[in-house]
């Protein structure tokens, strides 16, 4: 134990003497929270559209009025024909084009049903679905109006089923509430995966590790010495990032902070060990950075941070079983937004703990004092 004390004393002194450490600790959380949370949004703020009205009727004007009255839609142009609308779509000037055919009004009144065509720029499939969804609901409410206030009373039909949603845990559907906890996870993951590993490889590059390797210092003591300072920094960054998120976005903290930070410690041991493991198999900082970044990107993309895990194919969901971010993103969102307690997230905790212990063991095992 006494030996570990000396190792930690040395590591802490070096880490906090390093002048580039302070900006890393403070600037990174600020940038990530204040820029990424805004950038990483799926919300659609405005849909640009063009409307081609071949009908020029009372009904078509009524429906168009419904669309233009919605702040969400911005009608960029009203071209005369659908070819012009398609050209606008090609030029990225509009996101979708609504084409109202001739006899729209007549069909609506006589046949009780009419069709319109919508051309959607679906390069971003997600945004395409969303904007089409919005447009459909606007048109849908117009058709409701036609049903409720028919031109002739005998067209009145049965009442529709109306859904009244109540959004739990995030009633205003505030996207930042959803993203901020996830970005915080990315923040401490980057700290964990890169700082500890880089520090170890640096000793290899400088050759100071040789001097350590001829001493009777135990392997676990050396690895623990590389892990603990960055565990402290990671927890500090989590606290700092949470504070920024609280001030900037007023994100709710509904669960216990003690629970959150205890779980974060387990998680940090895991990602730090992962980074240290990578550095034990790398000879240079470039190598270690490359491998760490590669695994970071895979973990982040598959974590459910930006895209719902439920919409991934079955095999990808199974792969997430070994993705530390998958568990911790879930934990962060549940504890912060839902106020989940320890029992609610016990499964995630168990998985993280098992991985943390095995990864720490693997890093120690793979660190070789003898080449």
């Amino acid at each position: 134990m006494r030996t570990l004390f000396y190792v930690l004393q040395k590591e802490f002194t070096q880490v906090f003497r390093n002048k580039s450490m302070l900006p890393i600790i403070f600037v990174m959380p600020l940038v990530q929270m204040l820029i990424l949370v805004f950038a990483a949004t799926n919300e659609l703020r405005q849909v640009d559209l063009a409307i081609v009205d071949y009908d020029h009727s009372y009904s078509s004007r009524e429906m168009i009025a419904g669309i233009t009255g919605n702040p969400f839609f911005k009608v960029q142009q009203n071209p005369d024909n659908s070819q012009d609308a398609e050209a606008l779509l090609m030029q990225n000037k509009i996101d979708l084009a609504l084409i109202i055919p001739r006899h729209f009004d007549k069909n609506l009144i006589i046949n009780k049903s009419a069709e319109v065509q919508v051309l959607v720029d679906a390069i971003n499939g997600n945004a395409a679905q969303l904007s089409l969804g919005y447009l459909s609901s606007v048109i849908g409410s117009y058709s409701q109006k036609v049903l409720v206030n028919p031109i002739k009373p005998e067209y009145r039909q049965t009442k529709n089923i109306i859904i009244k949603p109540s959004y739990w845990f995030n009633p205003q559907l505030n996207y930042k509430y959803y993203m901020a906890p996830g970005i915080l996870v990315v923040l401490i993951t980057v700290v964990g995966m890169l700082l500890g590993g880089m520090n170890l490889v640096r000793e290899k590059e400088l050759g100071t590790i040789e001097q350590i390797n001829v001493t009777p210092l135990k392997k676990w003591q050396f690895i623990a010495g590389k892990l603990l300072p960055f565990l402290v920094i990671g927890l500090f960054d989590l606290a700092f990032g949470l504070l920024v998120a609280r001030i900037a976005f007023n994100i709710p903290v509904r669960g216990s902070l003690i629970l959150l930070f205890s779980l974060a410690s387990v998680y940090l041991v895991l990602v730090l060990s992962w980074g240290l493991f990578i550095s034990t198999i790398s000879d240079t900082q470039q190598q270690a950075t490359f491998v760490s970044f590669f695994s970071l990107i895979v973990f982040i993309m598959m974590s459910g941070l930006f895209t719902p895990v439920e919409s991934m194919p079955d095999w990808a969901q199974k792969l997430d079983f070994i993705n530390p971010l998958f568990y911790f993103v879930k934990i962060m969102r549940s504890v912060l937004l839902k106020g989940s307690n320890f029992a609610d997230i016990f499964n995630e905790f168990a998985a993280l703990s098992a991985f943390a212990v095995s990864m720490f063991g693997l890093a120690i095992f793979r660190y070789r004092k003898t080449s």
Binding site: R17, L206, V214, L217, K369
Partner: protein, 242 residues
Amino acid sequence: MISSEPVITVKNMVKKFGDFVANDNLNFEVYKGEIFGFIGANGAGKTTAIRILCGLSTPTSGEMKVAGFDIYRQTEKIKRNIGYMSQKFSLYEDLTINENIRFYGGIYGMKIADRKARTAEMLERLDLSAYGNRKIGDLPLGWKQKLAFSIAILHNPKIVFLDEPTGGVDPITRRQFWNLIYEAVEKGITVFVTTHYMDEAEYCDRVSIMADGRIVALDTPEKLKKRYDAANMDEVFLKIAR
């Protein structure tokens, strides 16, 4: 003071890197209290051999004992009993002299009072008492080398391995460095040193001359000079190398 008790025994040491044979069947013993020199050109296999004896590298084959312990099975016990100074300066440049000493004293399990006494004595000997709180990175190379040696023997090892310890330092500092080595020997530490400076070979009790991974001659400098009819070790080396 040199006894006939071997502290290092090497039998048939072989180290291969792929097809390249770095150490080709080395056999020698190092006796307690002597200064044993490994002399040879760059690439002769000196560093490879020293790294194996320190437990930094595994040999391909052979039987070796260091400080009475087997090199394959008792590596950690060997490490308690040796000191090592590598070719490349490897103290922490971003830590002060005192911090480096505290760290290494700490991981060798030295008692605090003991460490403090030895530190004071050592810094005084090196005329560095006033510089304990200086970062090592700010010191001139000669000072760094003397410090590295002093820290390598801080825990009073049985054997100290020095891999080209005087590379790149001026002749005066080299002389001072060798004085430190003699003082360590007086304290009972056995010194295993590699060098390619032939004048330093004269300072050794026995030297082993290496070429292409093999030991081509091993004896006291006097006997080697007599055998090869040479005025100094430089001539001996040139005659053997030819």
